[in-house]
Symmetry: D2
Subunit: 200 residues, 4 copies
């Protein structure tokens, strides 16, 4: 029933770069959630700016997120839950509001590439460079970055757009990503989307 | 951020068998949609009975479906669109109404296993036998059946619970699935869930 | 330890087209081996010509083959066993002798793409078109063709360069591959490598 | 052509545990090869003892190794090259000699699971626990460990059976593997195969 052209029609247009927001949509009401939130909130403010710049530059924005409810690929439920003012994460979900021109991929495990549609989705914009942002630097970002590196993507992981429960682990993860995965970790304010497009 | 236990908590309970409904949620308003619908409607009636029996037997029911809108893992949009009385497929979507205890996996291509969460989702019930149903027998069912066979599942493909645009191709596909993939193709009325559980 | 450039250095050069020989290296000493051999031998003669043309055109030739011995990725053992004059398959192994400029991928199951290195290997020549040949048309060729189609390759399956145990199943498989996977099934003598390169 | 039973026949027997030797077969004649070799040689001595204990306990031993020559799945070539007394790595290749009852998987990239047969091979012994050893702790071991963790394996990474170019990075990697992937990193002398089998 599925024609490749169907997917093509619904996938991002050509873009050398794609921006991924990892595990941003969350209630932050888990163990260590408060600790993580302390770093995640200022990070989310930077990321909100970066997302705006990305949209202006025509760069597709893809939310890659854990699924918390029953496995029903129902991201609306996730969004509504995280936007509920009673949960800690609502401030972040508000800052980084999903809009209808964004994309959404649910992931069942730590890596955005493992048992998800991300790889097929990224074929359509033919992006060569992925900007990875979100939480946590040392787990879901690192797993996703490793998998992206195996697939020959150029990586940008802006140091002020990722966070972890422990500041020290955030730093270790960034250093690893820079040293081993050859990622560019300059802060978000230094990212020039037009240059990234040309550099591919 | 994702703990395996999160997924576990939200995935189906142990069950030797799982029932998959492939590409059932659709408006059937595509080329050949009318031709397919002629066979799909009576098939859907049989399948509605089979689904009821499965639920009574505690067998998880998983909708594995093409994504028609923008890639946003938004199955609610799919359901609402297919349930709209103005589209041909609404009768089938009504007969096979998704309920909150069912599971949903969006697929971007023909096989339910390709770039989807199906494989990880099926690890949790530890099912050894998959019952494949839906449309079309010669494309998405066959692709999914091949991929299931590669992964060592026992296959049941009830001959009255699949349909294709051409009756002849439906027959060829069923014969292939029986001969090469060693599937049981007995009609749905002959399926005994308790026996399937014991036979595993 | 592995640098991507290592693999790059050892993989095929850029080529729009790649020629795959599937399960050609075999003793043909299995059930139905004699029946299959009757069709496989004349097929192998055509395929030997096609391979020569491919080499002249600079098209990489990749043997994708079942592993018969212990899982040790030891293709030499396979080759030596199949070349042994005491086994039926030696005539075919001789006609389609592996040479040092060819590539070899061992597969554990029916599809050349399932749990193998084929997908990564094909990234390097950046081939868009795969010519699939070998045995059997209705099993390993069909499984591999389906998986190639999911990955958006253009397919060429020359009707005289595949064989099956049953002539009828060979015909059905070719028709399926043509109708559903949009493959070009013209006989090998009509394949023009220069044109395939331009048509990509 | 490939029957699942064929693979079964050639894959390891049931074993709750499997021992993986990662990138051990190498000439160590690359940049930083001398630095790595300094740590890798004493590590290889410990690993040789561990391998002996594993064999006595009936635990399958799987070499998971980069491919250096042309992509021809030809592990004999690798072995012969690494055993050549003129190359630095020959001492290690000698200590950890591959024998006919071991298994071999060639990997094209950093993770042993990426585009290889490892996942399918491990289905046969139904191992739940993987002991990861070899080089380098912070790259191929870490990538493989992450991928094993995604697949729900219990991990054992004996601290004296891995090595890296930089001692500090070796330590960081071990800590990460312990903290995030919940691996047991006790030294090899403390590994009790019988207990590992019961603990599964």
């Amino acid at each position: 029933m599925s024609e490749s052209k169907d997917l093509h029609g619904n996938a991002p247009d050509k873009s050398d770069v794609a921006l991924l927001l990892i595990d941003i949509i969350s209630d932050f009401e888990f163990e260590d959630g408060e600790k993580l939130f302390k770093y995640a909130l200022p990070m989310a403010r930077k990321l909100a700016d970066l997302k705006k710049k990305a949209k202006r530059a025509g760069v597709p924005v893809i939310y890659v997120n854990d699924n918390f409810g029953k496995w029903q690929s129902n991201f609306r439920f996730l969004l509504d839950h995280a936007l509920d003012k009673k949960v800690r994460g609502s401030k972040i979900a508000e800052l980084l509001k999903f809009d209808e021109s964004d994309y959404f991929v649910l992931k069942p495990k730590h890596s955005g590439f493992y048992s998800t549609t991300l790889e097929v989705l990224l074929e359509h914009p033919e992006s060569k460079t992925l900007i990875l942002t979100g939480v946590t630097a040392d787990i879901c970002i690192l797993f996703t970055a490793n998998d992206a590196y195996l697939r020959d993507y150029n990586l940008v992981v802006p140091s002020d757009c990722v966070a972890a429960v422990e500041k020290k682990e955030n730093g270790h993860a960034l250093k690893y990503i820079e040293r081993v995965l050859k990622a560019d970790t300059r802060p978000s304010s230094k990212i020039n989307f037009n240059k990234l497009k040309k550099d591919k």
